[in-house]
Symmetry: C2
Subunit: 401 residues, 2 copies
């Protein structure tokens, strides 16, 4: 149980001020005071401390009030991009994407390695990631010493708190302590997170959910993932587990349970097409869905039917999630969206059919074909979030928790 002392009080207000500055670009102290409902005195004190710690910068231009700007001009404050650098990575079965960002989450360099890593031994995957991180850092004209934190986004079930990967389609082993593995290799604090959570934060900071503190994101990639944002924070189940949508059960067949992943995973959609020569090559290169889109455009009936079936299943799952969480918006992302309108419309239709009438107006569905880079950026944001929350005043680099 956290004891509420003045220190915590300050930490909370400090975080709110910092977060307000992050969200609302260059912003004056007065406006921070209005938004946070803290007194100008307190804002002044906190911003002084933030300036002192080099987390924010002043800027004397850009006071864009009504032209009749009487009085002393406001001094605008903004995040100091140099305050920290982090690396975010998205690891998928057939590619790894890295991004180095500054304290604002702006990408300084990024790197895509189209390597198929699934089912390789942990050590091999870790080697490749280590290499990618190092290269991406160099690309940004930095050294690893300049990096404050790293976050690896993986598909599957990830226990953020402990850094264990319970199960992932790209690992043969289960329950891997991957955070420790990478931390010891790179000698930089490294955290592990579900890729869906990463893209969720990316959309909260920069994408389709900038305006919302509550929302749900569904990611449709090789793996089907879920991210829930609640009161501006990632909602991680009781034990800090990430959610794995693909494991959701949609019914029972003759002798087996039918999981969403069996109906709507990449494999399920491509089906026997994946066997075809040219297609198989495309899939291997991670262009499976784009290729499928061209086949659909050419009216490949089997594929159209598969896409439609998958969309239906996903629509049902989304309806269930809305039933449970009641978010004002559901952002749907992932490579499967490049299947095109057949797929997307199927999701929408099925959702509208399945959503209970009593809450049919609660949620709005938004589709977004996020770029790979955005996923890696999201992972970087996860890392930044941890930095934000940590007790900045204390210089300690190791946030022992």
């Amino acid at each position: 149980m956290k004891t509420a002392d003045p220190e915590l009080m300050r930490a909370i207000n400090r975080f709110n001020v910092l977060d307000t500055i992050r969200r609302h670009g260059p912003i004056s102290r007065v406006e921070i005071s209005e938004r946070t409902e803290l007194s100008t005195t307190t804002v002044s004190a906190i911003t002084a401390s933030l300036l002192d710690d080099g987390l924010i910068l002043t800027r004397h231009e850009g006071d864009i009030r009504n032209a009749a700007a009487r009085g002393r001009p406001r001094v605008m404050l903004e995040l100091n991009p140099e305050a920290a650098r982090v690396v975010g990575a998205k690891i998928a079965a057939n590619r790894m994407v890295f991004a180095v960002t500054n304290f604002r989450g702006e990408v300084l360099s990024n790197l895509t390695l189209p390597i198929r890593v699934d089912r390789q031994p942990i050590a091999v995957i870790a080697d490749l990631i280590e290499d990618g991180v190092r290269r991406c850092v160099v690309d940004a004209d930095l050294s690893l010493d300049d990096i404050d934190s790293i976050c690896i986004g993986l598909p599957g079930v990830v226990e953020h708190r402990t850094g264990h990967v319970r199960s992932s389609p790209i690992f043969r082993e289960t329950n891997v302590d991957f955070a420790s593995e990478m931390t010891s290799r790179l000698d930089v604090a490294t955290i592990v997170e579900s890729d869906a959570h990463a893209i969720t934060l990316a959309h909260h900071w920069f994408g389709r959910a900038r305006d919302l503190d509550d929302m749900v994101l569904v990611s449709l990639e090789q793996t089907l993932g879920l991210g829930v944002l609640h009161a501006g924070q990632l909602f991680r189940g009781a034990g800090g587990l990430s959610h794995n949508l693909g494991d959701l059960v949609l019914g029972v067949g003759r002798s087996e349970t039918i999981r969403l992943s069996m109906l709507a995973g990449e494999k399920a959609i491509l089906g026997e097409h994946a066997m075809d020569g040219r297609f198989a090559e495309a899939v291997r290169l991670g262009r499976g869905m784009t290729h499928a889109q061209t086949l659909i455009a050419a009216e490949d009936d089997a594929l159209i039917a598969a896409a439609s079936r998958a969309g239906e299943a996903i629509g049902l799952a989304v309806a269930n999630i809305v039933t449970l969480f009641g978010p004002p918006r559901v952002v749907i992302v992932g490579s499967s969206l490049s299947l095109g309108t057949v797929f997307v419309e199927s999701i929408g239709r099925s959702y509208r059919d399945a959503i209970p009438p009593s809450i049919s107006t609660v949620a709005e569905l938004v589709f977004d074909e996020s770029a790979d880079e955005t996923w890696a950026q999201g992972a970087a944001v996860v890392a930044l979030c941890e930095l934000y929350e940590s007790p900045w005043g204390t210089t300690g680099p190791a946030p022992a928790l």
Copy 2:
């Protein structure tokens, strides 16, 4: 955005101390200090204030440390049962149950009205509830003036924050502002909550989840409900909606979506049996499930099959919920449990089949055939929780929020 000032700080610590006293029976200041990690000084100050407000009592007996009790004996503190009285109610289609409790949540009187109210006009239902509340209060040798708060637990989708009932099987109308309705009738602050949330808190305070701050409860009554306890608090979707399990989609039939309620609601289980004369009478009296149990004992094949099918569907739904929330325990309650082992074992079997192996050890299933009184008590606990959180120092009886 809540600004963190000394007042909030005190409110937090005060709540923690009060909650610790509630949970751990008569407890000394020293032990409170240990559990909350607040200094003894602070605990002393806060308890002095709580004593001053009459929320807790001292008791000089009962220091049960090791017999070698040297030194000044500890003064035990406990909740003052007289500090508040609340009424909780559980409204079901065929009965209404009321309970008056003291500040500790102990039942002072309770009352069951076996009245079928579903689909009556709001005014009629409100009349009946008003009457029940008044009678139950009188039974406890109290007057309505003595009551600090009332909570009505209803099946369906309830928006706790606004007091609106979005949809409920017992209301013909949708989106009813039932909290206002009852508040104006009784002239006592009345809140509305999902019945599932009520029984969830009941189990957290007194039942099968006393030891846990994170858990999920599934209620199987006429309506299928869900309660999620997260970090010791009810998790109410983004908008304060309650969850409605029955609306979960389990698949798509020829021309309609198959919802859990269609497979596992009371009606679905009893099926055509409900038409039978004696049986219909039992159902009308709210003894449908018990009666069904005797039929099952007599090896009524159709009913056994129905119970088994329903159990399967629920097992799947529970597996999905565990996939999403990852709670350490799932408490399953409700009248349907009186169907007996066929039903319960079917749930367990189906759950074990459906739960993804990677998280098969996360959650433990617990069945509990909670008495009606417990549900009403749970509603009372919901009311008490609101009182707990409110700014006690200020005397205002109307917690305007």
